[in-house]
């Protein structure tokens, strides 16, 4: 079963509909017992980092998520859910993340030229400068996906799965072993996005990470 972690941040309607559209049954889970039954996990999220991290802990699902990630269950974080995968974030202070992928979340204002709008809202092209991760099996370099973000993850090339150019190269996706995340919204990125969700559902991290 594919589980969408519902910890009270953001609307899961489109995500549920996207999996339905690619013929994948997805269950929205709100407690650790239900999450434990999952063989694949989606960690969504919009809003502020600290609030989301607190709500995830309060839901009781944080520990389960950590155990399952350690046990090799494929995990995909989306938008703020992706940012939560890193060590920490500097959004309104300094807050600890899940530490599943090495790196930290910083304001895009730090690196993009003045005059560019913040948040970055809209469609931007993907680049795979260090090889193509299995979740991008059905995606070509240069395909566009939909972004809405003011913060981005700073990570090392070893964990960078895709980037995008917005006055500077910003992390668009990151991955470490069975854990991966997209800064953009695959569920809002048309056919390209559905292809990413499909590839995630097919992904067997123990066999292949790069395609």
């Amino acid at each position: 079963m594919l589980a969408i972690v519902d910890y009270g941040v953001g609307n899961l309607f489109s995500l549920k509909s996207s999996f339905a559209a690619i013929g994948q049954e997805a269950a929205v889970v709100t407690d650790p017992a239900a999450l434990k039954k999952a063989d694949r996990i989606i960690l969504p999220g919009v809003g502020a980092f600290a609030d989301a991290a607190n709500k995830l802990a309060a839901s009781g699902m944080r520990e389960t998520l950590m155990e399952m990630a350690a046990a090799g269950t494929p995990l995909l974080g989306i938008c703020l859910g992706m940012q939560l995968l890193f060590d920490k974030s500097y959004e309104y202070g300094e807050h600890a993340g899940l530490g599943l992928i090495p790196g930290e979340v910083r304001p895009i204002a730090d690196v993009i030229p003045k005059g560019l709008k913040i948040p970055e809202i809209g469609w931007n092209a993907l680049r795979f400068p260090y090889g193509k991760h299995a979740i991008f099996r059905y995606v070509k370099e240069g395909d566009h996906v939909y972004f809405v973000h003011s913060y981005y993850a700073v990570t090392s090339p070893a964990y960078l799965a895709a980037d995008t150019e917005y006055g500077a190269y910003l992390t668009a996706a990151a991955a470490k072993a069975n854990v991966t995340g997209c800064q953009f919204h695959p569920e809002k990125s048309g056919e390209v996005g559905l292809g990413i969700l499909r590839a995630f559902c097919e992904w067997r991290p123990e066999e292949e990470t790069v395609c």
Partner: protein, 252 residues
């Protein structure tokens, strides 16, 4: 580089698209779901659904239609019309909308933008303003452009962005329906007043108007239009190709 967005707007009344037209491969052009699927498959970067019903029954039909569209269309959906309270935000967001646009509701209740942004985030709140020149001053109009509020428009929009509107749709009443191009002067004034994305609306008559818009005002993020797309005068694909050839970043 983030691409410029092309956004068709669908006016919906009683569960049907007003001003429907003939499209090859679309059996029912008055079906918002079918038309949304068509636009999504043919290059639209985003869709705006505008609820122009006033009745309770119409509203129910609208949310049913919205739900069905959001189940089948996977690009951003913005909903406007009849949004007066934070509960109205909840109603359409629960049906699959990604952003909610407020207009008269924000004029009646200036706290609406702030309250909605606090609950759902700035990225979710779009301020749509109908603006017209009156004695050389940009004024905000309410009730679908029928009533002059007397408010100066640039200040109103600036304050809206400050209160949490994450995007602005500027609809120029002066150029709306004239099909002689977007209102570049008004758009320039708004772009200089806010740092959030600005969506141009009102006046698109053909492909050249979009090229002129994005070439003259690189700060404008998107162009919105209804009738030229619905009547098939311009296809979004050919429009985007022409813009790309003119050096404007487009998702093709």
């Amino acid at each position: 580089m983030v691409t410029k967005r092309i956004i068709p707007c669908l006016d919906v009344r009683g569960g049907r698209v007003v001003k429907g037209v003939n499209f090859e491969g679309v059996a029912d052009v008055a079906s918002p779901v079918e038309l949304a699927k068509y636009y999504s498959a043919h290059g639209a970067d985003e869709l705006v659904f505008y609820d122009i019903t006033a009745s309770f029954e119409g509203r129910k039909l609208f949310t049913d239609i919205l739900t069905e569209t959001a189940r089948q269309v996977f690009i951003p959906l913005t909903v406007g019309g009849g949004i007066n309270t934070v509960e109205d935000f909840a109603r359409v967001l629960n049906c699959g909308a990604d952003k909610v646009s407020v207009n008269s509701g924000a004029i009646r209740n200036p706290d609406l933008i702030y309250e909605a942004a606090k609950r759902y985030g700035d990225q979710c709140v779009v301020l749509s303003a109908d603006v017209k020149r009156v004695d050389g001053v940009f004024r905000v109009f309410a009730k679908g452009g029928r009533e002059n509020t007397g408010m100066e428009a640039i200040e109103w929009i600036r304050r809206g962005a400050e209160n949490g509107a994450g995007e602005i749709v500027l609809n120029s009443i002066d150029t709306d329906g004239v099909k002689n191009g977007f209102d570049l002067e008004m758009l320039d004034a708004v772009c200089n007043a806010v740092s959030v994305p600005v969506i141009a609306s009102g006046g698109a008559g053909g492909i050249g108007d979009f090229v002129t818009l994005f070439k003259t005002l690189p700060k404008v993020d998107a162009g919105l239009a209804a009738s030229i797309f619905h009547f098939g005068e311009v296809t979004i694909e050919e429009l985007k190709r022409a813009c790309a050839e003119a050096g404007i970043p487009m998702r093709i």
